[in-house]
């Protein structure tokens, strides 16, 4: 019985505040559609339209683009011939297993020269590179890497003829998850 009373009171309270806030909301909603005052939104006019001023800054992808341009120039990266295995979710960004392999031939005169790993969100997007020779037999390697936050992992393979192949995958880093 007591509980019911309480809930009733609460309901009433919320009803009232709800009406009040509804009134406020409708006011502001109106104001955003119809410019108030002289019709021009001044600098200090808090009721004026705000779409222009608070444009969210997109996460900068400049670092990775610069890095890729610095390492590969303007050569085109073809998204084929490379496979990469990563977990979908990593509970600790400090240990993310990545394995890269390529089906490109490894023969003298026609082989994979270098494999690169990049992570977009790291301060230094370049993680590691590996120089290969035909004696490797297979263009593949795996490594455990650190990731600052959820981002894309890029694997790029360079052949001795200067052609580039690549693959990207997203890994979610959920630090602060439930595991104690």
């Amino acid at each position: 019985m007591k509980k019911n009373d309480f809930s009733h009171a609460r309901r009433e309270f919320i009803k009232k505040t709800g009406v009040a806030s509804a009134a406020l909301l409708s006011l502001s909603a109106l104001s955003s559609v119809i410019p108030m005052g002289n019709g021009k939104a001044g600098k200090g006019d808090w009721l004026g339209p705000r779409a222009a001023e608070a444009a969210p800054t997109a996460p900068s992808t400049g670092a990775i683009k610069d890095k890729l341009r610095a390492t590969f120039g303007d050569r085109k990266i073809e998204m084929s011939h490379v496979t990469m295995k990563t977990p979908i979710i990593a509970e600790n960004g400090a240990v993310v297993p990545v394995s890269i392999s390529s089906d490109l031939p490894m023969e003298p005169g026609n082989y994979v020269k270098k494999i690169y790993i990049f992570v977009d969100a790291n301060y230094n997007p370049f993680i590691a590179s590996m120089d290969l020779t035909p004696a490797s037999g297979k263009a593949a390697f795996s490594l455990r890497i650190k990731m600052r936050k959820t981002s894309q992992v890029r694997a790029i393979v360079e052949t001795n003829k200067g052609k580039l192949y690549g693959m990207t995958k997203t890994v979610k880093v959920t630090i602060g998850g439930c595991g104690g």
Partner: protein, 111 residues
Amino acid sequence: MPQGIGKIKIRLPRTVRKGQVIAVKTLILHPMETGLRTDKKTKKKIPAYYINDVSIYYGGQLITHEDWTIAVSANPFMSFYLKADKEAPLKIVWKDNKGGVYQKTVQITPR
């Protein structure tokens, strides 16, 4: 800091046939400090201490060379492939930015 920096484990397949492409798996104990962390007690930055250069020699010939940055995990695991076409030692050398050199040699005897 973990004990025993520079301890190495190299894992090869149990049997190696001649000309077979085998996977070599390696583990090395190393803290791989990024230089970005601060010590909780002294409030000072922990200096960077990481492996930046890995070379793999097979029969005296450099077959693979790797460049690493701070973003390789602590106690780095690395695996690579190798064409076992001769009986020769496989030597792997890790170098860190403070001048530490860690190496281990295993013999590959293909049948």
